[in-house]
Structure formats: structure tokens, C-alpha cells
């Protein structure tokens, strides 16, 4: 196809951007999952190594990363539920935009809630 078909970005709306988000978060989670299975596998090999790796997760910087990951999972999860509703509810396609904004609200609330808890735990050093 000729190069000229590129041009400005398509200005999609909620539907398209939520799909971009869904796709990106899906891939991010997938790669995390691969790593996560690997690190968890260490429990089978050497408990100390496992603890060492896990303690890395407890570092405040990593906590931010975890926070991001959980936010991604939550977005993917909530939006995934929205997609399922859109697919199976009779009124789904009609109310997709409302559903999207509901997802956003729930997501923000959940992320803020989780963040408050998780980040305080991480930065106050918790029990250990």
C-alpha cells in the first residue's frame, strides 16, 4: 500500500481509546505474568533467592511499579467486564459510552483506594 495512506492519527472516541488501553494493558499483564511465574518458581529452587527477589518488590520504587501494574490489571478487568456487557446485553452497544465512563469512575475509585493502602504500606515500611 502506498505510504500516503498514513497521515494524522485517527480521532477515535471512548470505544477506540479504551480498546487501545485494553490491548496495552493486556500485553503488559501478560509479560508481567511470565516474569511472575518465573520468580514464583524460585520457591521451588531456593527460598532465599525467592525472598531476595521478593524483597525487591518491597522497595518503594517497585511499589510504584506494582501500583501501575495493579492499575493496569484493574483497567483491563473492568473494561473487560464492560466489553462482555456490550457483547451480551441487548442494550449493550447503545450504552457503551455510559458503561465506559462507569468503568472509568470505578477504576479511579479502586485505584485510589488501592494506591492509598498499598503506597502507605510501601513507604511506611510496614512491619518488616
Amino acid at each position: 500500500m502506498s505510504k500516503s495512506s498514513s497521515g494524522t492519527l485517527y480521532r477515535g472516541r471512548e470505544g477506540m481509546w479504551s480498546w487501545v488501553g485494553h490491548r496495552v494493558t493486556g500485553v503488559v499483564i501478560f509479560f508481567f505474568l511470565l516474569v511472575h511465574v518465573l520468580d514464583t518458581a524460585l520457591v521451588r529452587v531456593d527460598p532465599d533467592a525467592y525472598d531476595a527477589v521478593i524483597s525487591a518488590y518491597k522497595n518503594p520504587l517497585m511499589a510504584l511499579g506494582e501500583f501501575g501494574l495493579v492499575a493496569a490489571i484493574m483497567f483491563h478487568a473492568f473494561n473487560g467486564l464492560r466489553l462482555i456487557l456490550v457483547d451480551f446485553l441487548k442494550q449493550g452497544p447503545k450504552i457503551q459510552r455510559q458503561l465506559f465512563w462507569t468503568v472509568m469512575v470505578v477504576w479511579v475509585v479502586a485505584v485510589v483506594g488501592f494506591g492509598a493502602r498499598h503506597l502507605t504500606l510501601a513507604f511506611t515500611g510496614g512491619g518488616h
Binding site: S4, G7, T8, R11, G15, D87, P93
Partner: protein, 258 residues
């Protein structure tokens, strides 16, 4: 059947019509140009025009073509949104140029006009529609009936007729298919327009080949590639609930297999 309406009054009070003269304003039109006879690269051309309140993007393009640069090429015919010739990307979204009033756009910024995405560009705003029509033809977009043709019309209840009304409105403008991020990727996806036109027959009570069409759309390039991004529904100039139609086809395939 037409309902009977009360005979209208012979004389009524007419409100003093909104007598405002049509206002004029200046716009900047940024058009993506491409002519392989001149260069392999596309570029933007910018035009400054004075236009009027009832003018549409198509009028602006005509103004350029007729008064400034005759080589600007685009398709158009009916000029009122029924023939489907002039789908293009206006300010980043697929629209019909003849249905997009300039005054409804932000005229303080340049208005960008580009060809629709995902189909090979031939020249300026003209793309090759053949892949699009190819998909359309593949879904068997025609009535298929078994048995004898009745001497009179086939009967169809008003409810049955209403069932597929929405998808009969399609003008094959390709605004939907070329707004679909999945179609952009490799152009193999059947695309929303083909599905809309299959839907029109799948849900027509007179048709007997719904199963065959469902089978066709159960293909790996069929309905399952739709990721419900809704760009198609938003782009459709006929207001067809495209994603809903796709959903209904998905569901029909599911119920048929289970």
C-alpha cells in the same frame, strides 16, 4: 399504512422567520495531496478560503478545485449524503464531505482533510474501493429464497420488516470499514460494512440463506475480529448502529452453534 391526519388549517400564524442573512467566515483548509505521477511522497497543501454558513466541506473542496487548483481530486456525486462517494477523514474522523457543515467544525484551526485509511490511495482523496467491494460481494448480499416465487409479493409483517430496517440504510460509503482499527492492520478483516450488509439479509424473514452467511462470517477474518471499538458506529453517516448489528451477527452464530 399511512395514518390519517387531520386536515391542516387553511391559514396559520407564521412566526417572523429567522431573517438573519447567512454569515461568512474564513477557514484554512489543509488537504493531504498525493499524486504518484508527480511524486511518491504525499504532502499537505494549505488553502485559505472565505466560506458561508450553509457551506459544507465539499463546497470548500470544490472552491479549491474550481478556483485554485484543478488537479485536486476527490470523488463526489449527489452532494447530500446519499450516494456514498465522498467519505474522507475530516479533522481526523471519517465523514462525508457533503454532510459536514463548515460551521460545525472549529474554524479557528485548520481543517484537515485526508483520504480514508486502510485502502490504497490512488490520488489525493481517492482510494481504491475494490477491496471494500470485494468483501461486500463475498457475504452474498442478495435475497436467496427457496421454493416457488409467489404470484404476488411475499408477505412480511411490519415487525419483521422493522427487524432489519437499520441495516438497509447502508450506502456503501466505507466510512465504517476504513475507520476500523482492525481493518487498518492487514486489510483482511471483512469489515463492518460487509457485516452490515450480511445482517440486512440474515435478519430478513424472507431470506433462506442466513446460515450460509453466518458460516461465511464465522471465518477467521469474520465477525470475531471485531474488537467493539465503535469507530464504525460513530463514523456511519446513515446513523446505522453498526456495532450492534455486528453483535447481533455474533450472537446468531453463537446460538446456531450451541
Amino acid at each position: 399504512m399511512s395514518t390519517n391526519v387531520a386536515e391542516p388549517a387553511s391559514k396559520v400564524e407564521i412566526k417572523a422567520g429567522s431573517g438573519d442573512a447567512v454569515e461568512s467566515f474564513d477557514i484554512t483548509l489543509k488537504v493531504r495531496r498525493f499524486d504518484p505521477e508527480i511524486s511518491d511522497e504525499a504532502h499537505w497543501d494549505v488553502y485559505k478560503l472565505t466560506m458561508y454558513g450553509t457551506d459544507r466541506v465539499l463546497d470548500a473542496l470544490h472552491r479549491v478545485k474550481w478556483e485554485e487548483d484543478g488537479s485536486l481530486s476527490f470523488r463526489r456525486s449527489c452532494a447530500h449524503g446519499v450516494c456514498g462517494s465522498d467519505a474522507m477523514r475530516i479533522n481526523g474522523r471519517n465523514r462525508l464531505a457533503c454532510k459536514t457543515l463548515l460551521k460545525d467544525l472549529d474554524t479557528s484551526k485548520p481543517i484537515t482533510v485526508e483520504p480514508i485509511k486502510g485502502l490504497p490511495v490512488e490520488k489525493d482523496l481517492i482510494v481504491d474501493m475494490e477491496p471494500f467491494f470485494q468483501s461486500y460481494r463475498e457475504v452474498m448480499p442478495f435475497l436467496i429464497t427457496k421454493g416457488h416465487e409467489p404470484a404476488k409479493e411475499r408477505f412480511q409483517s411490519q415487525e419483521d420488516r422493522e427487524r432489519y430496517d437499520d441495516t438497509t440504510k447502508c450506502i456503501l460509503c466505507a466510512a465504517c470499514t476504513s475507520s476500523c482499527p482492525v481493518f487498518w492492520t492487514d486489510g483482511q478483516y471483512f469489515g463492518p460494512a460487509a457485516i452490515v450488509n450480511a445482517h440486512r439479509f440474515i435478519f430478513d424473514s424472507r431470506d433462506d440463506a442466513g446460515d450460509m452467511r453466518l458460516e461465511i462470517l464465522n471465518d477467521k477474518e469474520g465477525v470475531w475480529r471485531c474488537r467493539t471499538t465503535f469507530n464504525c458506529s460513530e463514523a456511519c453517516p446513515r446513523g446505522i448502529q453498526v456495532t450492534k448489528a455486528i453483535s447481533e451477527v455474533k450472537q446468531a452464530i453463537l446460538t446456531r452453534s450451541i
